[in-house]
């Protein structure tokens, strides 16, 4: 299968601290790729490198066969990369509908009416401001906003963070739905069990390096392996 995104040997820094030590990964087209790892492993930094918000100091990022390593994020996004940031980053001062009018209007199947069909809760709250939404609604809004760009690949950073179990299930259902729509997904998660259930392929990141890459099903079947990969604080991210 060809790759939606391919990253090679990424080295990222925040100031002087060296965060990513040669991360390489591949987001297969049409599949869900999980990127797992405990707090501070470098998952968010990796995603920010891919979308161009924290460009890597070394290494290479290819998006649909184009070298985007030193591109500004808006050009990378315009290739069809949807980004749902950690903590949602909904625009708090804008209404739901205004939030949905921010993304670039790439041609494609996703339109406002279709989004409201998929997320009826957002349709009900279209005139409410972003800051008035619940965590679950904000996550839906962040995903909906990324979808309106009509992305070919979607980068999701911990979409289930801080959500009630029922809402978490809804989020994962939507991620699966995205794959059915033909959108490739790179899913960053700490909810390992549920991620491995829906993912095709999985990477585990620790301390800025990829410590495991392989089929999601195989990893899911090997809890001891998961614990070992995660190091001393395994219980923190293997739970629940």
């Amino acid at each position: 299968m060809s790759a939606a995104i391919e990253a090679d040997n990424l080295h990222s820094f925040y100031g002087k601290s060296h965060i990513l030590h040669g991360v390489g990964l591949r987001v297969a087209e049409g599949g869900i790729t999980a990127l797992l790892g405990r707090n501070g492993a470098g998952k968010t930094t990796t995603l920010r490198a891919l979308i161009g918000l924290t460009p890597p100091r070394q290494g290479r990022v290819m998006v649909f066969g184009v070298d985007t390593t030193h591109w500004p994020s808006f050009r990378i996004a315009a290739l069809g990369v949807g980004y749902v940031p950690e903590g949602r980053h909904v625009f708090p001062n804008l209404t739901v509908e205004e939030n949905l009018k921010v993304p670039l209007e790439r041609p494609g199947p996703w339109t406002l009416p279709r989004i409201y069909q998929l997320f009826p809760a957002l349709a009900d709250r279209r005139r409410n401001r972003g800051r008035q939404l619940s965590g679950g609604e904000q996550e839906m809004l962040a995903i909906a906003r990324a979808l309106l760009l009509n992305p070919r690949v979607l980068l999701l950073d911990e979409p289930s963070q801080g959500l009630a179990p029922l809402v978490v299930r809804e989020v994962f259902r939507i991620v699966v739905e995205m794959r059915r729509e033909g959108i490739s997904v790179l899913l960053v998660e700490q909810n390992v069990r549920m991620s491995l259930e829906i993912a095709d392929y999985a990477y585990v990141l620790d301390d800025g390096s990829v410590v495991h890459a392989g089929s999601a099903r195989e990893l899911a079947a090997d809890p001891a392996r998961i614990a070992a990969l995660a190091g001393a604080t395994a219980e923190q991210w293997t739970d629940p």
Partner: protein
């Protein structure tokens, strides 16, 4: 006495209208680009003089629109060539750059049009007072207030109802996310800068019709523009609007009782507002609502 108070209230309203126009432009640029534009007064002067130069060819009404547009065009180019280089750096860079630009604009006008003040002729319809009782309400004064009101209304409508406006409002809080959603934030900032400069240019044209032109005419409006932003609350355009009107009125009304304090009063007002509401009147929750 009532008439005197009314006279000064109207005066204050007009002054306030200028403060508002200046402050809104400054605020747009500050909110999206994080630059305190000390060259804003320079652009005001440029607008006024461009109108003066254009009037023989396109008349007063033509100049009223074309001069601010040309000024905005100059602002657009200046942003692309210079101002954008200081984005994300220590604010000191932006201050120094725009301070230098202010001198260049002011001295540029001086060397082209001379240091002497120039009179500006306004259409006869606007020059007449409304009535003999209200001799101080000339058509031009009403026209200035009306034009400012129209410009403010248009600005708020654009920010509220167009995608570009919505993106500008989004970008004031979280430009990275706007960029990650595929929006060319460099272009957005240029456009927004030009919009702010358009307002400065418009102030220049309007002020020229009332007071005549002088290369230093922008300086006096710059500080009140900043005060209006702070009184209204940094980050809130409605706050800026409110702040500009308030300090204008305060300054006009004070002119009746303590003429000598009419300039100082805006700073006193600012101090009082900041003591009661440290983020300004609409600063906290009002972020560009």
């Amino acid at each position: 006495m009532t008439q005197l108070l009314l006279f000064n209230a109207i005066n204050g309203l007009i002054i306030g209208a200028f403060y508002v126009l200046m402050a809104l432009g400054l605020s747009l640029i500050l909110n999206l680009s994080g630059v305190i534009n000390f060259a804003h007064g320079g652009f005001l002067v440029l607008g006024g003089y461009l109108a003066y130069a254009l009037t023989p060819y396109v008349g007063f009404w033509g100049a009223l629109l074309i001069a601010p547009l040309l000024t905005a065009g100059v602002g657009f180019v200046v942003e692309r060539l210079m101002v954008r280089r200081v984005y994300g750096r220590d604010p000191l860079y932006g201050l120094l750059l725009t301070f230098g630009l202010a001198f260049i604009l002011e001295d540029g006008t001086r060397s082209i049009w001379g240091a002497q003040g120039l009179p500006v002729s306004i259409p006869a319809v606007l020059a007449r007072p409304l009535s003999s009782d209200f001799f101080f309400i000339t058509g031009y004064r009403l026209f200035m207030v009306g034009t400012v009101a129209a410009a403010v209304f248009l600005l708020f409508a654009l920010l509220r109802y167009t995608r570009v406006g919505i993106r500008i409002r989004a970008g004031t809080l979280d430009l990275d996310t706007v960029s990650a959603l595929g929006i060319n934030v460099r272009g957005l900032r240029s456009l927004n800068f030009a919009a702010g400069i358009f307002l400065a240019g418009l102030s220049g044209v309007l002020a020229g019709g009332q007071l005549g032109l002088e290369p230093t005419m922008g300086t006096g409006l710059l500080m009140p523009g900043f005060v209006a932003i702070i009184v209204g609350g940094v980050g809130s355009l409605p706050g800026t609007l409110l702040g500009g009107l308030l300090i204008g009125l305060a300054s006009g009304v004070t002119a009746v009782f303590f003429p000598s304090a009419s300039e100082a009063v805006i700073y006193i007002l600012m101090a009082v507002v900041l003591m009661v509401r440290p983020h300004g009147l609409l600063g906290e929750e009002g972020l560009l609502t």
